[in-house]
Symmetry: C2
Subunit: 149 residues, 2 copies
DNA sequence: CTTGTTTGGTGCGAAATGGAACTATATTGA
DNA sequence: TCAATATAGTTCCATTTCGCACCAAACAAG
């Protein structure tokens, strides 16, 4: 019997890296011109988690530098997909809100993604995904908590 | 009982995206200055899969555009970590070989990564990773085969 | 052959990424 | 209270990413 070997983390991360590339390509194929995955991620986060987040809250949620979030939001705002207003509770920060157009783009993308996902589901057993999902969630939460604060 | 819902793909991809970010940060923290994850990925691929691959073979393996591979290799070559020679079997292409220095950088990175992975293993059950790994591998293979050629 | 098409690789330019330094506001503590 | 420190966000800049256009070698068909 083999010893538990931490290298399995490395191997799992390698698989995850490739799947991330492939799934990002699937998403971006459905996005309107000028938008890429990080833009969609923000629209989706504001819809699913809570509208009116601050840039820093989102940067932390996605584990990206705040400078990257600044730029991503600039693009979204220039395209009229989000709008920002001052945060009355903290003069340093601002809050980001979806516009109707932003909500619409997000909804259309989800809709056009549905047949793509359905095609994946036709060739890969969804049950297996349901099994690994809680492990992935726990791993994400664990790693998120483990990084040096 | 719920219908099998393809949206679980979306949810799994979301978790995978965040884990990819976090794991990449762990790797890059161990890399020497001037190298980032994609550089290491090439060194690792040449070591694990086969030395002397062509740029296109690697671009396809990692699912990145060939122009990105050109640039990544330029950095690695400038730092003396790989060297390229003409491909005698095909005048259009070239083959990429690790140098001793490249092998050394890769080995040192793996070594310095070991305690990081061990620390992860101390807080997260490796058995659960061993369970999901084959599913991830199958998913990666399936998605890789499913993209339009 | 030789002409049309495919394939490997590069140069270029636009956009994205992210570190460093900076400003402004908030918080902490002596 | 007010000085020291921490935090949110931006600007600036170097590097990365990747689409497009291009070149050269290979291959395919007549």
């Amino acid at each position: 019997m083999a010893e538990p070997n931490p290298a399995v983390f490395f191997e799992v991360f390698t698989e995850i890296g490739i799947i991330e590339q492939l799934s990002r390509a699937l998403l971006e194929a459905q996005l309107p011109a000028g938008l890429i995955a990080p833009h969609f991620t923000v629209l989706n986060h504001l819809t699913r988690v809570a509208d009116g987040r601050t840039p820093m809250e989102m940067a932390r949620a996605f584990q990206i530098p705040k400078t990257s979030m600044t730029h991503t939001l600039k693009v979204l705002e220039a395209q009229g997909l989000v709008e920002t207003r001052a945060n009355p509770e903290d003069g340093r920060s601002k809050r980001v809100w979806l516009t109707d157009k932003g909500r619409d783009v997000r909804a259309r993308t989800i809709a056009s993604l549905a047949p793509v996902l359905a095609e994946l589901a036709a060739g890969f057993d969804i049950e297996r995904l349901l099994e690994i999902k809680p492990v992935l969630t726990d791993l994400r939460v664990f790693m998120d908590a483990a990084r040096d604060p």
